[in-house]
Symmetry: none
Subunit: 241 residues, 2 copies
C-alpha cells in the first residue's frame, strides 16, 4: 500500500511533471502541508532523480527517463531509491577520518564516489584513485591533490586497470585506503565481481598503511566471485548500522 507521504509525493511529482515546474508555495497549496514538508519531499524526489530543485521550487528532470548526457552521473542514474542516505553517512564517516597531510586511496564505486565528494572541502590532502569519475569530481577541489593511476578503462565502471595501472601504483605510498566492495562475508572476506579490479585493489592495499572497507548493509552476507582480502585483513570497516 501507498503511505500518506508517498501519496503526497506522487501528487507533487504529477503536478511538476505536467507543468514542467512548480514553486514551493504552489505545492504547499496543492498538498495542504507545511513548507517544511514540501521541502523534505522535494529533497527526497531530487535524491531519487525525479526532479531538480531550483531556487523557489523544482523542475521536472527529463534527462533521467531516457539517456542522460552527463557522463559522470549516468552510472548512478538508474539506481533510483537505492539507500542513498546510508551511503552518505558512510561517506561522511570516512571523510571525518581524514586528516591534513593524508594520502587517501579511493577505488571505484558509488560509495567511494560519495567519499570523494565529501573530501572536496578538505585542505592539504592527496587523493589517489583509479576511477576517472572520482578524479573528474575533484577537478575544482583546491585543497586536494589528485593522482590518477593510468591504465585501460573498464566500460561502464570508470575504473582503470591493467599493467599500466599496476606500474604506477607500485610507486605510491598511501596512508589510508577506503576500499569499496561488492560483497562482505566472514567466510570469503571482501569480494568483487571483477578479477582485474580485485588485482588493482590488492596492489593498492599493499601500498597502504591503513585499509578501511566501506560498504552498506545490502552487501552484507553476500559473496562476489573474487576475494580481494580476508575479513580480518583490513584495519577496520565503515558501514551503517
Amino acid at each position: 500500500m501507498q503511505s500518506k507521504g508517498e501519496l503526497r509525493r506522487t501528487k507533487m511529482l504529477e503536478h511538476i511533471k505536467q507543468s514542467g515546474k512548480a514553486t514551493v508555495s504552489e505545492l504547499m497549496d496543492i498538498t495542504e502541508s507545511s513548507i517544511a514538508t514540501v521541502r523534505r519531499d522535494l529533497e527526497a524526489l531530487e535524491q531519487e532523480n525525479y526532479i531538480i530543485r531550483t531556487i523557489g521550487g523544482a523542475v521536472y528532470d527529463e534527462g533521467n527517463s531516457g539517456s542522460r548526457s552527463n557522463a559522470a552521473e549516468l552510472a548512478f542514474a538508474d539506481k533510483r531509491s537505492v539507500s542513498k542516505e546510508g551511503k552518505e553517512r558512510i561517506a561522511a564517516a570516512a571523510a571525518a577520518m581524514v586528516e591534513e597531510g593524508d594520502v587517501i586511496c579511493l577505488t571505484g564505486g558509488t560509495t567511494t564516489f560519495l567519499i570523494a565528494k565529501a573530501l572536496k572541502a578538505h585542505q592539504n590532502i592527496t587523493v589517489v584513485t583509479n576511477a576517472v569519475n572520482i578524479a573528474a569530481e575533484l577537478f575544482d577541489a583546491e585543497g586536494v591533490q589528485v593522482v590518477v593511476s593510468g591504465g585501460v578503462m573498464r566500460h561502464k565502471s570508470y575504473e582503470l586497470i591493467g599493467p599500466l595501472a599496476e606500474s604506477v601504483i607500485e610507486k605510491l605510498n598511501i596512508t589510508k585506503m577506503f576500499l569499496g566492495v561488492d560483497g562482505v562475508s566472514k567466510e570469503h572476506g571482501f569480494t568483487t565481481h571483477s578479477e582485474l579490479e580485485a588485482r588493482i585493489a590488492q596492489l593498492f592495499i599493499a601500498r597502504s598503511s591503513q585499509v578501511y572497507a566501506v560498504y552498506d548493509q545490502t552487501k552484507l552476507h553476500k559473496s562476489a566471485l573474487f576475494t580481494i582480502i580476508p575479513y580480518d585483513g583490513v584495519t577496520g570497516v565503515i558501514t551503517d548500522l
Copy 2:
C-alpha cells in the same frame, strides 16, 4: 567579434554543458570573476533557456535545444552556434580521419573533447588521453578502448601531468594524435599556457606516427607562452574556414 562578457558566458555554458551542472563557486573560479557577475551571467543564460538555475548553481537545460523565442536571444544563439559549429565541424573532420585499428591520442581541451564525443560511435579503436573528462565521456563507448595516462591532475583543466604520466606515455605507440592548442602562429608554432602540459604533449608527439593540430580561428595569430612544436613540425592541421 565576441565581447568579454559573451566569452565568459560561453565559457560557463561549455562547462555546464560538459559537466551537466556547476556550482556558483566553481564558475567563479573558472571565469575568475565575482559572485555578482556569475549570478548575472547565470540569470542571462537562464533567460535564454540554455540553463536552469538551481540552489547553489545551475544545470544544463537539455529540453530546449529545438525552439527558441525572441529576437534578442537569437543574436546570441546564432553567434554561439556559429563558433560552436566551427568546433564541431573540426571535430567531425578529425573523427572522419580515424580508421579501424587506429590508436588515437587526445590531449585536453574543448575541441579535443568534442572529437572524443564524435568518436563514440567508432568501432575497434583505442583512445589514449591524459584528460579525465575525455575518458569519462567515453565510459560507455563500447567500440573504443580507453587508455588513460596516470599522473597528477591539474585543477580546473582535467589534465594529468608529471613524472607518473611521463613514465606511462613512454610505453605507448600511437598512430594519430590530435593536438589541442592555445595559440597558433608561423613564428612560434603551436603554443600553450602551461609548461607542464607542453611537456606532456611533446612526449605524446614523440610516440605518435602522425600529429594533427586542431584549432579554431580564435586561436590563430596568437602565441601562448610555451611552444609545443614548430609550425612545420606537425603532419597537418584541422581547422575551420
